[in-house]
Symmetry: D2
Subunit: 140 residues, 4 copies
């Protein structure tokens, strides 16, 4: 998909359930990060890459190194949200992503996240596998 500025983005639909909300009647602020992680996972799965398989076969995983979120408007129970994900920088062993959590094309929460590919046994940085790099280039 192309967003308004012509950027290729991956989109993932998320529904808001009771589990996501809090006594303020809105989605709890940490839970948007769950939505963002689901969307990153589905972006890879769309290209045949699964986190569990990466962990078991390649002994690698993606670690979030930093993350920032702007909370513009709250999401509420039953909202049908869309997470739009683009890669903003693609390094050797790390990458930056921008993710908008949207309702009816208005951004409710804007997230920037930096991820590192690492060896799950040593914790050392690992070069992104080519198959992952190719998948991520589709939304760069």
């Amino acid at each position: 998909m192309l967003d308004a500025s012509g950027q290729h983005v991956h989109t993932h639909a998320v529904r808001v359930y009771y589990e996501d909300t809090d006594a303020g009647g809105i989605v709890y602020y940490a839970n948007y990060l769950k939505y963002a992680e689901r969307a990153r996972t589905e972006l890879l799965r769309h290209h045949g890459i699964e986190n569990g398989a990466l962990m078991r076969s390649d002994r690698i995983a993606f670690a979030v190194k930093s993350c920032s979120a702007d909370y513009i408007k709250p999401a509420r129970l039953d909202d049908a949200l869309e997470v739009r994900t683009a890669v903003t920088r693609l390094g050797g062993a790390s990458l930056h992503m921008h993710q908008d959590i949207c309702l009816d094309s208005a951004t409710l929460v804007a997230i920037d996240v930096r991820l590192a590919c690492m060896d799950i046994d040593s914790g050392a940085p690992v070069r992104l596998p080519d198959v992952v790099r190719d998948a991520l280039r589709q939304v760069l």
Copy 2:
């Protein structure tokens, strides 16, 4: 949908993400109850009934009064699960449901839940609205 015994059931697909798992490498035991609640919500939504609207317009909500779960086999990261929901008893202001959380048609977790329809202001029991009753009868 009909299950193996000819019972009408509602089915809802759930994917297992990192957020659902724990350091044991499997889905954390409380999180299956989230899957079950999502499925109950989608059963109603399938018939045009939304929890948020019930709360705002009718001032009613479904409270879980009791719940039991048998953990047969664990679900794991990336599993594509299916929640199968049937109504096992339909009372005036309450109902019983059976829910199977399945992987490839094997039941991993079997859940029985009793729900009561209640006034969210007073907490008093409220007769199930006819539109809700009709929806639930489809899987009774």
Copy 3:
């Protein structure tokens, strides 16, 4: 501690935060199971036993095999709860516990749980280590 009937119980304090509540203004039904698991963990820690160490050194973990919960009254934001835990049956490789989640000595949620001690590599049942058995006997 002794409860009203003279039963030895382990008590664990839990505070209700926004993360635990939902748009209904009360604690989300699955989250009481988190409180119960924290209490079981602290019961063992009180006797010098840690889940992480059991997993790393002995390659064993406790799996919840079944669980039932009666929801009597809801807990709310800021409530200072107490979880009271007793062992109701102690087998070779499994045990039953009863846990009351209380506010001001009234039980809000009553939980019965059956746990099995298992080998985390094979999933096979494992006899409870003596140090665990001795700890659990204190609240039997």
Copy 4:
């Protein structure tokens, strides 16, 4: 408490339970935000201010407007963490906080958060009540 640089900070102890971890064996990245929110809540409670009471009596709540987190080292099951919270800017209707989530005085995750005091009915910004302002000044 004073931190190393002589800054007054509020400290709050957090234990890592299974519910907080994921299949990677470490605390799931969104869950550190729960720890941070618990610590902010306890900072206010230490001065006799409760979120629930603010909501019911004053019809106000604190909304997170933005949040950033640097993930330096992961926390693991059973870790006894400490959240250190300081106010870094105190405005009329909003404030900035810095929060370090520490293990044995090493910072694992560093969080900056901007909060706004708002009317829960209209969503409009509201001047911080004096009692809240006085509490926050203790760690400014």
